[in-house]
Assembly symmetry: C2
Homo-oligomer: 275 residues x 2
């Protein structure tokens, strides 16, 4: 039997939405209160798949999640892009004028700051999880209180959307990874993207040399992120995503990069979710 998918947050969260889009709407999920605990469930075998946000177009990479994948030797086996839209919602029959408080995650409140300034009568209250507020409003029948969450959450908890897409930056895309304990079972010919990690000395041109290898082998770089190695001055770790047309090109580049970079590691090989 297929084990449920571990998500960060509760049902109605953005992670839940990705699980449904990727694995199907009837997918069972394990609600985890943090990314760490989702990884614990994976390591203990309660689940075989985690949905994990990796980066978004406003805040950049979520480095602690890269560290979780790296430190536990997990594998990225797929990716999914979701456009995050925040919506104001409350019990049915409520209007914006009747809302006294809006509860949401500090990041969501921040992203909706410009919209909320139009309603100075509404007090902003920080909460742990966007979807959880929606759930509490229904369970405790809280009138006068609004949540900021996804349309999915509104539907799930039967709340009324008072205002749609209220975030300041309208396009807020987040990239999620599907993460497993072991390597991808994806067919080779379906693989056209990989996530790599390697280390280099702070020597002039060392990264340029690696990127030249990639370019010579017809790999396209879609993401690069350097991170100074803790406790090792002048040594840097690089997290890199590449796309390619031919798996053999990628294999050839890999063989060369393994010789040129230190601690070269494939974090995952999978199908590019962008066309």
């Amino acid at each position: 039997m297929k084990k449920p998918i571990a998500i960060q947050g509760i049902k109605g969260s953005f992670h839940h939405e990705v699980a449904q889009q990727y694995f199907g709407t009837k997918t069972e999920v394990v609600e985890c209160m943090s990314f760490d605990s989702a990884v614990d469930r994976l390591m203990e075998g309660d689940t075989d798949n985690i949905v994990m946000a990796l980066e978004n177009s406003i805040a950049g990479s979520i480095i602690p999640n890269y560290a979780l994948i790296d430190n536990h030797n997990l594998s990225i086996v797929g990716e999914y892009y979701l456009d995050i839209q925040h919506n104001l919602m409350a019990l049915k029959g409520q209007t914006i004028a009747s809302i006294l408080e809006v509860h949401s995650h500090p990041m969501a409140l921040l992203q909706c700051k410009v919209f909320l300034k139009n309603y100075p009568h509404i007090r902003l209250v920080e909460a742990k999880d966007t979807a959880d507020v929606a759930k509490q409003i229904v369970e405790q029948n809280l009138s006068g209180i609004a949540a900021i969450a996804s349309k999915n959450a509104a539907k799930m908890y039967n709340l009324e959307v008072l205002a749609e897409s209220i975030q300041t930056i309208k396009h807020n895309e987040t990239r999620f990874a599907i993460v497993k304990r072991e390597n991808s079972k994806v067919e080779r010919k379906a693989i056209n993207k990989a996530s790599l990690k390697f280390e280099l000395d702070h020597k002039r041109g060392s990264l340029a040399t690696i990127l030249n290898v990639m370019s010579d082998c017809k790999l396209n770089l879609t993401k690069i992120q350097s991170l100074p190695k803790i406790d090792t001055p002048w040594k840097y770790a690089f997290f890199v995503d590449i796309t390619f047309e031919d798996y053999e090109d990628y294999k050839k580049a890999n063989a060369i990069m393994q010789l040129m970079a230190e601690n070269f590691k494939v974090l995952g090989e999978y199908k590019n979710a962008r066309l």
Copy 2:
């Protein structure tokens, strides 16, 4: 007369510590409740300098702060590295056994999770600002409540440190920038580091070509971060830091890069804080 320095957070915060280290211990500061409001104070002329965290060795770059600098055309004129150490502190005479609650920023609570697990009798409560909790404990004479904050905060608010350096990852270095409205007045010969931003098409080898120019001109790369351009598929912005020995080498590379990359921009030229 010198205007006070804008910091994010209150006196006793890590930003305050950097302001004191960089500008001198007697430096006056303007306490700002967010990075956005610190930039507002700068734009309105209430201050001529902001201390702003840019990246740390655990969480990576703070992309929204790069966006603030970029969008307001501000200049980085200096940098400072601070090793962030979290300490448990409470009113004098208290012991860990007498502590019932610890209040701190969610990130600080997370970073000290392993230490706090040893004291299951202590309830964790999320707060907005690490130093502000220390201040409240003194002002309201709160016994049974501890803060997680810097030694600086303990000293400033006369609290007793119950446990030192309680964060799980002992080395947690954060890089701060000194940010002004206008360009650096630093003497050319003192400049050996620069922060750049440029855009490239998703074309094979485009980044490698730029890095080859840097390498040919004897520039060393100390940081690189790609960010997909919102609403422009296949176009990427890169934030890059470089160090060099000779300003003329850097000027030459700049002239070439301006021709090769789109929207090339110098975010700052300053003195490398690392030796």
